[in-house]
């Protein structure tokens, strides 16, 4: 059976070039980067070179790069680290209603320590308004965290403008760029951010490795306590193979970003247009233009997302959904609800995210398969027509 992977926002395969770069660091060059002997120096050199590569790709200084265990740890470190280090200045944090759980739940965990969080709303396309951020600002605001691009609906936030609001007020600005690096140009100077999270496995690198950019001078407490690794800012023996893989993946992703995005956007538009043309009672979720090049996300009325996914999977197509059933909670995705979609519509969500290996034939296969599935499920639905 044809297998069509359309869940690149969930994770991506490791590129062969990336795996090749990693392999020597498991078995031969296995040293601990903190050791001063030759085995250790070999590892240290690899970590240092990787840091240079990552810094160059993002327009940062190597000293501003902290390697972490993934996007989640980067977000936890940024938010909790800045909050705890700047408590004397204030205890108010601004974030949006459509952040990834790693940001949202880190903020919520701080509420228990006495911090106050403002969740600015989004419009029907999932966009945050810089004016809303400005209005939410208080004298005791110490951090703003707004994601670069949304993982569910692909909406791209006006980061540069929000960064200006933050800078005018002298407030630190963090962006979760886990979904954007490789898909959009990401340069910390152009974006004007103080902290930026990314994750290896979203850009054809390995799982379990990520990075946090922290602008020079930003006051931040360590999150992971222990050995003095990462110049005292992130304890734990360096995941050398992971770091090498991350650097290779970022290097390639940034190098190829323009061409990659153009290719994906073409496939995405074909997919979106095809679905909207062939299937009635469907809503395109997210912004019609300001969206990630690979993101096609919809809500199909009268049907439930998990049922769609299971049927697609039976035809070899891998997608995802923000329905309650797939999130493992009783509520559908907070992102879809924040955009004003009614619960019953949000339950019918389907996200298809394109990647390197997808072809026009893959899109055509989905367009041939999906309408029948929706029709069949609607025929089974008490709300169907």
């Amino acid at each position: 059976m044809r297998r069509v992977y359309l869940d690149h926002a969930a994770t991506t395969p490791v590129r062969p070039e990336v795996l090749d770069a990693m392999v020597p660091f498991f078995t031969e060059k296995f040293g601990n980067a903190s050791s001063i002997h030759s085995f250790g120096r070999e590892a240290r050199t690899a970590v240092d070179e990787s840091r240079d590569v990552v810094a160059r790709a993002l327009g940062a200084d190597p000293a501003e790069i902290i390697f972490t265990s993934g996007g989640t740890e980067s977000d936890n470190t940024a938010i909790k680290g800045v909050a705890l280090a700047n408590r004397k200045k204030g205890n108010h944090i601004i974030t949006s209603a459509v952040e990834h759980h790693a940001v949202m739940d880190s903020c919520k965990s701080l509420e228990q320590l006495g911090f106050e969080i403002t969740f600015v709303p989004v419009d029907g396309t999932g966009m945050v308004s810089p004016d809303d951020v400005r209005s939410a600002m208080r004298p005791d605001t110490i951090l703003i965290s707004i994601m670069h691009a949304n993982n569910e609906v692909g909406t791209i936030q006006p980061i540069e403008e929000i960064a200006k609001v933050a800078r005018e007020a002298g407030v630190y600005f963090h962006t979760d760029a886990v979904q954007s690096v490789g898909n959009l140009p990401v340069n910390v100077e152009q974006l004007g951010v103080d902290l930026l999270s990314l994750s290896g496995h979203k850009l054809y690198g390995p799982k379990g490795i990520g990075m946090l950019y922290v602008r020079k001078g930003v006051k931040i407490s360590p999150y992971m306590h222990g050995g003095g690794q990462e110049r005292g800012r992130r304890a734990g023996t360096e995941n050398v193979a992971g770091i090498v893989g991350l650097a290779k993946a970022i290097e390639l992703a940034v190098e190829e970003q323009g061409e990659y995005a153009r290719r994906l956007a073409r496939l995405r538009d074909m997919l979106i247009r095809g679905v909207m043309d062939r299937i009635p009672d469907v809503v395109l979720t997210g912004h019609p233009e300001r969206r990630l090049p690979g993101n096609a996300s919809f809500c199909f009325k009268f049907v439930e997302g998990e049922s769609i996914l299971l049927n697609l999977d039976l035809q070899g197509i891998a997608g995802s959904s923000g329905s309650a059933c797939t999130s493992g909670s009783l509520e559908p995705s907070h992102v879809l609800l924040a955009m004003g979609l009614p619960h019953e519509v949000a339950h019918g969500s389907l996200r298809l995210t394109l990647g390197r290996d997808n072809t026009e034939e893959d899109v055509q296969y989905v367009l041939d398969t999906l309408p029948g599935i929706i029709e069949r499920l609607r025929a089974m639905s008490p709300f169907g027509r």
Partner: protein, 126 residues
Amino acid sequence: MYSQKVMDHFTNPRNVGDIPDADGVGTVGNPICGDVMKLAIKVRGGRIVDAKFKTFGCGAAIATSSMVTEMVKGKTIEEALKISNKAVAEALDGLPANKLHCSNLAADALHKAIEDYRQRKQAESA
């Protein structure tokens, strides 16, 4: 994740549809929660001779709906009332833990349909 039996009932659901002259109809769930089941029964001589469903919901919701219509056919009203959500899940070789509470409403829909049937009968005989 799902057992083979669940997938079988999900892929080839039995008894989908409406019964135009149903003797009892039960609807449970809520579109806001992402699960609605509508179950219709036909009763002859105290026995359920036909059952059909329509369901908006996840794989578990559809499979349990299908399974309960199969289980109930030929049963007396009393026997049918003894069918629990747990029994339906067991007949499907179990459901994932996180599905046990939410999408497992098929027996409730059946019981509601039986209640509707009884109320109609009472109304007739009154």
